[in-house]
């Protein structure tokens, strides 16, 4: 570590300007907005924490969205990371099929979330969809998928795993290549099994990448918006009404900017808490 105000600031200054102007200023405006209320005539005035107290104590829709978002995140994040990690471990070494499978797993990531949502809305169509085509082929009963309160959220999880696993696989692959080959060679000489090598060398040395993927993936998934907007509109009966969509509805449908900003500020708070916890848990990130 070098002690130098001048050199340090020289290197961070451009990024500081860009982040400050295009991220911090709008975030600040948004947080301030959560302390205000807009009347139907378009005038806004300061109300303190009224938007928040209303959400916490008098707004069942908010609490429904809160719990759904929490359940969704607790399922979708470990699932994505586990699958991404397994895929990366399977595709880390070079065999004749490696390049092909890597590209296949990455394919869904190349399609935007909006288009992925359209694709799955037709694949999972209750009457004519491809998924029910398969179920019928194997003699299983057709499923309602997004039309059912019991299944819609899990379809959303499924869609997200399909889209995102290949993306995080890429980060794990990049992390895996930083592990020196010599460690594995030494383990080979000692006669270590593949499982032992994975557990004792690969996973511990992957912890920085793991921390990064965990935090970034969690933040992304808390903000899931496009599939809800395109496929379910929060339904059926509020079963997929994630917080981000509820905030969007507040802002653009009900024109209640105060409530919308309060929800996103709460969401930001939740993400911060989760990230801190994850950093602590993976012992990465904050040590200089």
């Amino acid at each position: 570590m070098f002690r130098s105000n001048r050199a340090g600031w020289f290197f961070i200054l451009p990024a500081f300007v860009f982040l400050g102007l295009f991220k911090i200023v709008p975030i600040g405006v948004s947080v301030l907005e959560s302390l205000r209320q807009t009347t139907y005539t378009g005038r806004s005035y300061f109300v303190g924490f009224e938007n928040y107290t209303y959400l916490f104590f008098e707004d069942p829709t908010f609490w429904n969205s809160f719990w759904i978002t929490l359940i969704y995140s607790l399922v979708v994040n470990p699932l994505i990371i586990l699958i991404a990690l397994v895929m990366a471990l399977l595709l880390n070494e070079n065999h004749f099929f490696t390049k092909f499978f890597r590209t296949v797993f990455f394919l869904p990531t190349a399609i935007s979330f909006a288009v992925v949502s359209v694709i799955w809305s037709v694949v999972l169509d209750p009457h004519y969809g491809l998924a029910n085509g398969f179920l019928t082929l194997f003699g299983l009963p057709a499923q309602p998928f997004f039309a059912s309160t019991a299944q819609a959220l899990w379809c959303l999880v499924f869609l997200n795993v399909w889209r995102s696993a290949g993306y995080w696989m890429m980060y794990f692959l990049a992390g895996l290549q930083n592990i020196p080959e010599s460690l594995y060679q030494a383990a080979d000489i000692d006669g270590a099994s593949a499982w032992t090598k994975t557990r004792k060398i690969t996973l511990p040395l992957l912890s920085r990448t793991f921390a990064f993927v965990l935090v970034a993936n969690t933040a992304f998934n808390f903000l899931t918006f496009a599939p809800v907007y395109i496929i379910t509109k929060g339904g059926p009966r509020g079963s997929t009404n994630l917080l981000m969509y509820e905030s969007y509805k507040s802002a653009f449908v009900n024109l209640d900017m105060g409530r919308a900003s309060a929800i996103t500020t709460i969401l930001l708070g939740i993400i911060l808490i989760f990230s801190l916890f994850e950093f602590k848990w993976t012992k990465a990130g904050f040590e200089y």
Binding site: M1, R3, S4, N5, A7, G8, F11, I12, P14, A15, F16, F18, L19, L21, F22, I24, I27, V29, S30, E33, N92, E93, H95, F97, K99, F101, R102, T103, F106, L107, T109, A110, I111, S112, A114, V115, W120, V123, Y128, G129, L130, G133, W162, M170, L173, A174, Q177, N178, I179, P180, E181, R208, T209, A216, F222, L223, S247, M257, T265, I271
Partner: protein
């Protein structure tokens, strides 16, 4: 690199497992491709009940693709997105790698504050700052320009964080030695740090490219001339509540997804352990 051989049985098991996983990824895409290659017609005709025709159309035609390029200016949307992505990558890699280096190797006043800002920016929901951001962009007089699409995405907290993680692993002794030899910090950054960080740069390139290529919400708000129409806006324009043109939607979705796939295909050699070798360890 010494080759490590696996038992054929293990390799075969891996292959079977990978094939099973890939079916899950590839079948929906295969169906979309088949639908795009059919003469335009009703979407669900071949989906349920399932036949071989579902995935392999009997009559193959490229008319849908010709149509979106010749009549619907899809080529222009592709070029717009490419321009926006490349410009953003250029700015982003430069400023984010610099910031990552600053955070990894220097102690300076305000460092904790800056690190906090970096963390905050990649955790904040983009949709929640869209309105204040648009007001800002309007005030800067760059709304409905390429700048409105490029500049807000250039500072990337995630990329800075990634570079910082990567640079932390570079031994400080190398830098100290270079300092003693009289090298300036800019020279050290250009000649030592950047060449060592190819894997991180590649990761950030893919990350920023994907972000810009897939962005829909912000371009919809920040630009309104068809001159600046980007790929996702062009694709989703084919879906409307009254009348969705599946042929146009699917063919443009496929054409629009090819550039990221091609990029990943060529850059993935940097993701293979042992080939690029960072030279830092071992």
């Amino acid at each position: 690199m010494m080759r490590r051989y696996k038992k054929p049985l293990v390799l075969a098991a891996e292959f079977v497992l990978l094939t099973a996983i890939s079916l899950f990824f590839i079948l929906p895409i295969l169906w979309i491709v088949a639908s795009a290659l059919r003469p335009s017609g009703p979407l669900y005709t071949y989906a349920n009940p399932l036949t071989l025709q579902t995935f392999f159309p009997t009559t193959v035609t490229f008319d849908n693709f010709v149509h979106i390029f010749n009549n619907l200016h899809f080529g222009r949307a592709l070029l717009n997105s490419l321009l926006v992505a490349v410009a953003t990558i250029a700015i982003s890699v430069l400023i984010c790698s610099m910031a990552g280096f600053g955070l990894a190797k220097f102690a300076f006043r305000g460092k904790n504050l800056f690190f906090f800002i970096v963390l905050i920016t990649f955790m904040v929901p983009f949709e929640s700052i869209v309105i204040p951001l648009f007001v800002l962009v309007k005030r800067l007089n760059i709304d409905n320009t390429y700048f409105a699409l490029i500049l807000p995405a250039a500072g990337n907290g995630l990329a800075i964080f990634l570079f910082r993680q990567f640079f932390s692993e570079v031994p400080t002794e190398i830098l100290e030695a270079a300092r003693i030899d009289g090298a300036s910090w800019i020279r050290i950054f250009r000649k030592i740090i950047l060449p060592l960080s190819i894997p991180a740069i590649v990761t950030v390139i893919v990350m920023v490219f994907m972000f810009q290529w897939n962005s829909l919400f912000w371009p919809l708000i920040a630009t309104h001339s068809s001159r600046f129409e980007v790929v996702q806006v062009a694709i989703t324009a084919h879906r409307s509540t009254e009348d969705t043109s599946w042929a146009n939607l699917f063919s443009s979705a496929i054409a629009g997804s090819l550039p990221p796939v091609i990029l990943f295909f060529f850059l993935q050699k940097y993701f293979v352990r042992g080939i690029s070798g960072t030279g830092l360890k071992g």
